[in-house]
Amino acid sequence: MTNDTNQVNETVRNFINNSINIDGLGDDENLFETGIVNSLFAVQLMTFVERSFGIEIGMEDLDVENFKSVSATAAFIRRKSPDKAAEAAVRKERETNP
């Protein structure tokens, strides 16, 4: 797993962990099937992804598969904008090790 892959996963995982009430959520665990998120979570996650990674989510991206888990969301971000994902990883790295 590359550095930017790790960083994107971690950023998404942190956001989701801060939005749900269970401990030890697996990266591949389905967020919507388990009923652990509320009705606003989908748009909150969308807003977070758009703001944090500077990407625009549009009609063509409306697919549960893109956002069903930490791994799926991170993979979507890397697919949608690999450059932005790498930039975010570098930014995060600088924040962690200034």
Partner: protein, 392 residues
């Protein structure tokens, strides 16, 4: 408030106040009694560009930031919450199309919405479904021809339904929530005006009946399954921002009309405002007004910054401001005494209109459920994080 605004936002706010003073305030009582806003007044909103406030310039809109949009709603809400309701639903439809429409849909629908040539309405509520939107009964089924859909069902309490030219309608296709655009002249669409509301009387509410209305596939917004999780929340978010800021304007109206009356009306040797009981009412109104301003601008700014807490902040702003407006309107009538009980006074209309602000775009009680649950969940998450940290 100006300390929180840029120079451009302050200048825009002054323009909005001038517009309201000239074109809304003098006529709001008349519109309320007639239960109708004249087409000419709606046209003025379009000519000023206000109906395209949230639409980017590439589609002919103003492309204003959300703080400026909030200021527009506040300024107009001071004069007439029913008139401001047009802005509310126009922004709800526009932002949903902007966010989830295809390029073709944006190019087709946003320019006429921006210019005010087309008024939008958000058709979500049903006769038997209000707060629990997951229980929608309006249904879509596949059409036998052209790959489109057939829409059947009823909607109720639809703001601007009496004169809107375009409806964003929510229903279900095989249990999957779906949104689509339905022009007013669609065959099978019946529109029945709803009269005699206690307030918000000129906002043109209507009941809609969809009797096997043909929906081309090109009119679907988003995709099946995402109507309530993604399309509706984008529109409702702007609906709540607009309503919160409109209620803020109404609250300011109550405060200004009360202080003005208290400063000029005399009881014997004293002014009404010399009475301690009146000062108490006005003190609460003024403090509520300041608090509500901060909450509303915080919500608008969070939306501008695309902050993931924007939804929570907007819920808080709408929750607080609509209730504060109801308190202020009640107190304003009290300050005005008998004069406030007559329809010739602005506070009588405020009193009837304020209550509507607590109902539309989510009742106070729905806000309490969402906010109360959210605050408790945040505490649980904090405890979980502390446990994780302690065990690591």
């Amino acid at each position: 408030m100006n300390a929180f605004l840029t120079r451009e936002q302050s200048a825009s706010y002054a323009e909005f106040q001038e517009f309201a003073a000239a074109n809304v305030e003098p006529f709001a009582g008349e519109w309320d009694r007639a239960q109708k806003i004249p087409d000419s007044a709606v046209s003025l909103l379009g000519q000023a560009g206000y109906l395209g406030a949230c639409i980017p310039s590439e589609y002919g809109g103003k492309g204003w930031d959300v703080v400026t949009f909030g200021l527009l709603n506040e300024a107009l809400g001071r004069s007439d919450s029913a008139f401001t309701g047009i802005l509310t639903v126009q922004s709800m439809v526009s932002t949903a199309v902007l966010k989830w429409g295809t390029d073709e849909q944006r190019r087709k629908w946003l320019p006429p919405l921006a210019k005010g040539e087309l008024i939008g309405a958000f058709a979500l509520t049903e006769p038997g479904v209000g707060s629990d939107i997951q229980s929608l009964t309006t249904g879509f089924k596949p059409s036998d021809r052209d790959g489109g859909l057939i829409l059947s069902g009823e909607k109720k309490w639809i703001t601007c339904g009496q004169f809107a030219g375009l409806f964003l309608v929510f229903g279900k296709l095989d249990q999957k929530p779906l949104a689509c655009l339905v022009p007013r002249n669609s065959a099978g669409l019946e529109i029945e005006p709803i009269q005699d509301l206690m307030g918000f009387r000129a906002a043109g509410l209507a009941r809609l009946r969809f009797n096997d209305v043909a929906i081309p596939s090109a009119s679907v917004i988003g995709k099946p399954g995402f109507g309530l999780s993604h399309v509706a929340p984008v529109g409702l978010q702007f609906g709540r921002i607009s309503t919160a800021c409109s209620a803020l304007g109404l609250l300011r109206g109550c405060f200004e009309e009360s202080t003005s009356y208290a400063a000029s009306r005399r009881i014997g040797e004293n002014r009404v405002g010399d009475l301690g009981m009146i000062q108490s009412l006005i003190a609460r109104m003024g403090a509520d007004l300041e608090a509500a301003k901060l909450l509303c601008w915080s919500a608008c700014r969070a939306e501008d910054e695309h902050h993931h807490e924007t939804f929570t902040r907007t819920f808080i702003a709408k929750y607080f401001t609509s209730q504060a407006a109801v308190r202020a309107a009640s107190d304003a009538v009290q300050v005005w005494g008998a004069s406030g009980c007559h329809e010739s006074s602005p506070v009588a209309r405020y009193y009837r209109g304020a209550k509507i602000m607590e109902i539309i775009e989510g009742t106070t009680q729905v806000h309490e459920v969402i906010l109360g649950k959210g605050f408790v969940q945040a505490a649980i998450r904090k405890q979980l994080a502390q446990r994780r940290e302690a065990s690591s």
